[in-house]
Subunit: 254 residues, 5 copies
């Protein structure tokens, strides 16, 4: 679970609600179906056009990463690779077959499987790098979806408000109620700007952060698996992999 | 047919209309000829200046690609290239002459024609890469047209609204009807922002996506045709080409 | 004459005027000297500061290019170079002297003059590339002027409107005429946004397009003249130069 | 202490307050809890989502750097390195052990420790460059936090104002008090724009300046320590290091 | 004296004043101390935070360059270098000592001094390139100051206007005078936008232009001095240096 995502969302939305209540407002005043339909529906519509059905279907998974993704702990991965590297030197590459089940990361498991299958080192490298390249592509499209949502949302809020004003101003016969009607028109702007700045754009940024962490981890695994394949000395493997992670995450190791 | 383009357009425009009707408005209130003339006419005018007549005439074709373009299925293309590569080794390059008619993609057909004509490999590569470069140039100009449309449209909406306000405010003698007149002036803003965010900009983004898919396909064909020309082993050709496409699109092939 | 520039300008400005007249306005309402003085004068003033007197004096020439510039027809240039290349092989380099007068492009003429003068090939290349580099610099400054004009114009419109509002609101004693006075203040915004979006920015974009076409033509001439100097086979010259232009512009040549 | 940061903050905030008082306003009119809750709380909330808990916890340290960070004085560092280089040649590398305590910069101390430990030169370089790379990464995330704060703050001001307007316009029965109520709604915009432009964004820029100075210093130390390790002539070391700093900071040295 | 800077400033500010007077306004209406304090003071405050005291103190010198800087006349410099190159071949490098006093450019004088001192050619090049790099750094910080001023100024105008509106709307008891009070609040916006667009941003652009011209001149001197040092043939020196300047500035020389 990503505490920053939850804490930030609660803090951001909470600040809006608390401030509104402090001024004596009722939430029912801003939860208005027409404003929400035009802002949320219109924003999703515009964003769907920009991308492919395939990327749209992947959005729930991206949300899961933003809310529940864990910062990878590279030290664990490094220790695992070093242990496997020792085993491979002791028992041979085939000895790694038993470890396959204990690897939870699918990229890592696939890489070790390829090593066990005796894949040549340049082919192994090409396959894994291609895999990383496609993952990068997929991630970027996911991040782009949230940036597009964040970009279209305020303008759809403006469209909603202008529509509301046009309707309001041309119909209100009683000037007394005009102020309230104008207020209602601004609810769409509120939703458009708030969704963009409290939800879409921050989540897009969090996904980018996750993406960078994930890439760093895959690069680490790629390097480690190639070292195992090459039969490098486990101590050398450890030193090399430790240089991939920030000094303060290296435990007491170096 | 590109479902995402249609679905997004229906969802986006639908959300605007549904929201307006939920608030009790009539569509006739926003379909106003002067606002549409200034926003759509003015936007197209400004965009035409920025580009050449040639690119303008190509716009309908770009719209066709955004709405009806199919995501290329590279696996089919790969299988076709592999079959041709086998045939070329069995019957010689000239044996490919019968296959020419069955190739629907003009770039692919031209490339095979050049191979049959015995074009030297460096010349072949240069010709095909030049072809790709010009296609890229043409695509980019098409994408730029929609970005320009999306950029000019809101400002022409503002021009329309300001013009309307100037006319309204300086003439309305009866203050009672002024609110309705001001409302009318905002219809131009509505059209300008809505056309940009629900039509022009999303379609520009979709064209960019199409463009990237198309380029990836041409690169694949270029590589495949050169392999055929070089008489590579069909199995090697297959492995090489499969590495050009995402793992989940490779069928059970690898 | 560049039809797209004229057609776009007429369409854009026309749409604004037609829309205003459809709503029953009179053009005299928006042609107001104070608004035009502040918007056009202020924009030009700010832009003049950003650049040098020399570039400012070149602006009429840039306007000429945007309105009357012709898309270069590279096929003609190629045929000319090929003919000269044949002649140079037949009669020697000095035989080109008679052709000098028939070359209208000054860059082309200078290049051929240098060849006739027996300039060494590396020196020739350096001189012509330097010439192209300075042309590029000059063009970029011209494009930048129009982008600056387009950037300052809407903000000067805002300055004009704010000035108008300050004057209007603090003086109008009769509330009845206040609406008309506010309307008057918005005329400056109208001019600022309209000049930027219908004139300055589109012309800047057109100049950029012209600039790219011009550069492509000079690169073609540079390559061709060096081929003549080197005494290349005319057929080879033709093939090489044709690869510089888009396939659909090559006539039936290849 | 960074005088520019303090002076700028006092000048900027002071100008706002003085101007307000000159017009006869009371500060109590703008220090309103609901506006501050929504703008400051909402901005921090949105920013927390975009980053990790780890970076958030580092914010006070970044503020300390912006307010109390000293511009490094490279001449001192250079003189220190030159003295150590002389000592190392006279007494051997181990002679530097006594100097360790007198080095206050942790990066410098770590580097000298590695030299004393007899770390091989390529390993030494890799370790120090990795260290610099992670520092750069951490700095960039800190700068990004302030840029995000500066980006979200005005939009949360707008959210606060729209919320206030909705509440105000739909409830005020007495038109007399409506003007005052609208005025209150704008306090949120004021806080949003002022926090961004007087606090967040300028501090982000100051951090970037600090970051560049810090990087330059670390590069200098890296180069110097490698020279010590290589046993370079102290005079050569001095000349080389002086070329890393601006001529006017070199004292009378060169 | 830079005529474009003066002419542009007079034209820009003049257009604003003339337009205001044409509408019947009095300048006293817009010269209001509170608005000027918040806009000018606040903008300078925010900008001071972003940079160092050192750069702030250099601002008057930057203003001097924008208003009184002369476009360098490279042809003069080239002729001087060529004359020195001839003298150095005739009388030896030491013969240049008498010319030192006649060189006004400090960079040029320092370079010649280094040549006379017999500095080795690679060292000479490194020293001069370092000098250029630091000058570039200093120039960039100066340009950045004006861009920051231009970026903060309109937002401080908005802060001033919002402050004014809050004060005005919550206090004005007489609705008759409210319009005039609102008008007063907008004076801050006027100052913020006008200072940015008529002063700060154009001057920043002019400084960038000056910076590019200065760099080109220093590159020319660097190349020339190295040629003198190497004892190149004066005619070769001239040809080489002339290729550094635009053809139309070469006089009748080539």
């Amino acid at each position: 679970m990503d505490i920053a995502t939850f804490a930030g969302l609660i803090l951001g939305v909470g600040a809006v609600i608390v401030s509104f209540i402090m001024e004596g407002g009722h939430l029912s005043a801003i939860i208005q179906a027409p404003a929400m339909v035009i802002v949320i529906g219109g924003t999703i519509g515009a964003t769907v056009i920009t991308t492919s059905m395939e990327t749209i279907l992947r959005v729930p998974r991206f949300l899961g990463q933003a809310f529940f993704g864990k910062t990878p702990e590279p030290l664990e991965t490094i220790n695992m690779i070093v242990r496997m590297s020792e085993k491979a030197r002791r028992e041979g590459i085939l000895g790694l077959e038993n470890d396959l089940k204990s690897i939870s990361d699918p990229f890592f498991r696939k890489a070790i499987q390829l090593v066990i299958d005796g894949t040549e080192i340049t082919v192994l490298k090409t396959i894994l790098e291609t895999e990383i390249a496609y993952l990068e592509e997929r991630h970027k499209r996911g991040i782009a979806v949230f940036q597009k949502l964040g970009g279209f949302s305020p303008t759809l809020g403006i469209i909603g408000t202008v529509l509301g004003l046009i309707h309001t101003l041309s119909n209100t016969a009683e000037p007394d109620r005009m102020a309230a009607a104008i207020a209602g028109a601004f609810i769409a702007t509120l939703w458009g700007v708030a969704m963009a700045n409290l939800v879409y754009l921050p989540i897009g940024d969090k996904l980018r952060l996750r993406h960078e962490e994930e890439l760093a981890k895959l690069d680490l695994i790629l390097e480690g698996v190639i070292s195992i394949q090459s039969g490098d000395n486990p101590r050398v493997v450890k030193t090399k992999l430790l240089s991939f992670i920030p000094p303060n995450m290296r435990g007491g190791e170096m």
